[in-house]
């Protein structure tokens, strides 16, 4: 039987030689390389059964290496373990959301790492022995099954999974533990706004990976309540969108804003306009919840304070370009100059406050979460989920046909 091959990509951790010897002694074939470029090359040539990579690799960092491995059909099934001195939950979650199978903090505990490798390789062996049609997970289009449908399905079975969603240039992950939403990761957003934004995605793709989830819960509410809120959120979002042109439309300040009065919230939105800014970018850049930002955009549009512009090539794919001023638009420049002198430092402070609040909220929520009720608590085996009057309503809808 072939020996299992392990590729180790490290920058400079002192214990690697010990680990290499220990792994070799346990029967593994081990290769060690010192930068990301070599590691990428070896991942194809050496065909490892497992990759251990340091986050701070030279040339190509660990996250980039991980993305490359997970993006290639030939290598995406190789278990990938990241190691780093970063102990923050954010870093760990980010790494897992990129596809890492495990995250180990330095310094290394050699016995622990050996045990983890054994478990991962055993899992792979087990999953490979299952026919493909029975592999754990499924994927599809958000147009067919949106986030609410996915969460509901997972909640029913009390399952643990990572649900990866992609829409446009954005991608996020929702972690489910025992049917309950544990965390949502999307850009720099806090979990709840991240989750709500993903509820609004109607186009794109999803992939559900059935696996254990270690994340501490970021949510106090049950999945059922989050779904309800999410669906309502999405409905409100779509309702606001009905009064607006496509959110891909680029807008700028119209001439009618001269002398007009604006609330501070409206001013902060106007300040984000820079020549031609895509409305969706305007919403996602704002320091408000997406729905509130969209509400403000809608109000500004109705007031005639925004006008559509042809998009510049440089702005086709991304956010508005800071510093790229709107030539010939004196009103836009006026507003921008007036407010940008104080809004940008404020934005920065707000971002820092957001991060601090998120950390402190996490600690509190994890305690409160323990007391929240789960579906499992009130679904005994065989118990019927609807009451009699609801069943009679269903019966009436189905008609009175008699059995043959």
């Amino acid at each position: 039987m072939d020996r299992k091959r392990i590729l180790i990509a490290v920058n400079n951790p002192p214990d690697i030689e010990k680990l290499r010897k220990m792994l070799a002694g346990a029967g593994y074939e081990v290769k060690v390389c010192e930068d990301g470029t070599k590691a990428l090359s070896l991942s194809r040539d050496f065909r490892p059964h497992l990759i251990l990579s340091e986050l701070n690799l030279s040339k190509v960092d660990g996250h980039h290496f991980l993305r490359e491995i997970k993006s290639q059909a030939a290598t995406r099934m190789i278990p990938f373990v990241l190691m780093s001195r970063h102990r923050s939950v954010d870093e760990r979650v980010h790494s897992i959301s990129l596809g890492a199978d495990d995250y180990i903090t330095l310094p290394l505990d050699l016995r622990e790492i050996m045990l983890r490798f054994e478990i991962i390789l055993k899992e792979v062996e087990t999953s490979e022995s299952i026919p493909r049609s029975e592999s754990k997970g499924f994927s599809g289009k958000l147009a067919d099954m949106n986030l609410a449908d996915l969460l509901q399905t997972l909640e029913i079975g009390g399952k643990s999974a990572a649900v990866r969603l992609e829409s446009g240039d954005d991608s996020g992950v929702v972690f489910i533990r025992g049917g309950q939403v544990a965390d949502a990761v999307l850009n720099e957003l806090e979990p709840l706004p991240a989750l709500f934004r993903m509820f609004t995605w109607s186009e794109g793709a999803f992939r559900v990976e059935m696996r254990e989830v270690d994340q501490t819960s970021e949510f106090e509410e049950t999945t059922e309540h989050l779904i309800e809120k999410g669906m309502l959120y999405r409905e409100s979002w779509e309702s606001l969108c009905q009064d607006l042109p496509s959110l891909d439309t680029a807008v700028t300040v119209s001439d009618s804003v001269k002398g007009a009065a604006f609330s501070p919230e409206e001013r902060s939105m106007l300040n984000l306009l820079n020549g031609g800014t895509r409305m969706l970018d305007l919403v996602t850049q704002a320091n408000y919840d997406d729905l509130q930002a969209l509400q403000l955009v809608s109000e500004l549009f109705k007031k005639g304070s925004l006008k559509e512009v042809a998009r510049k090539p440089a702005e086709q794919n991304g956010l508005s370009q800071p510093g790229a001023e709107s030539k010939g638009n004196s009103a836009g420049t006026y507003i921008d100059n007036l407010i940008s002198s104080f809004i940008n430092p404020k934005q920065q402070r707000l971002n820092v406050r957001k991060m601090e609040r998120r950390r402190s909220d996490r600690r509190g929520r994890s305690d409160r979460r323990r007391n929240s009720r789960r579906w499992d608590d009130f679904i005994a085996e065989g118990r019927i989920s609807l009451n009699k009057s609801e069943l009679l309503m269903i019966r009436e809808k189905l008609g009175s046909g008699k059995k043959r």
């Binding site: 399905t153 919230e265 408000y288 919840d289 729905l291 989920s385 609801e390 046909g401």
Partner: protein, 184 residues
Amino acid sequence: MTPADSNTLGQGYRPGLETIWRPRMRIGEIAVVGPDSAVKSSFIRSGCDEIVVQNQHLIFGRLRINSQLMLHLYGLDYHDEQNNPSWDLVAKKLLGYIILFDWSNPVSFAAIESAVDALPARYRLPVVVAASLDNNPESLPSVLMNADLNVSRSSEFTFCNTAEPESVKRVLATLVDSVIAKLD
């Protein structure tokens, strides 16, 4: 900032989530079990308003009863029960099961014969065994069929044409009747 904080906005802000809250949707779920994907697919398409997802593991359709109540149908393979995650996903909160097979195909029945015995015993939920007559409209009296299949007293047996919505709804109604009877 969460939606609950949304009223901190300025005067232009309209009532938000907190003021337009509605009762939650109630959902009843039924598993449609059988070896033939085409038959299951036809059954669920005929019985539902919309198909939400269809893949190799699962076909999932919804039938809206009213603004607050919905019926979900999940088409699953019985032989996948041990390993198919989609089975586990829906197994806990079901109203009951419909075991569906092609009446004209002995292989089809052989594939679910064990389910006819095992499901009622294992999950203690109402079960309706439905024989699809899509390919063979001539049927035997169900009393004979009951005897042949040795369908337990807790299971109902019926024929259906999966291409006809009324026929499918009749099968669903049979199951709902069993659920109501169990409540009584």
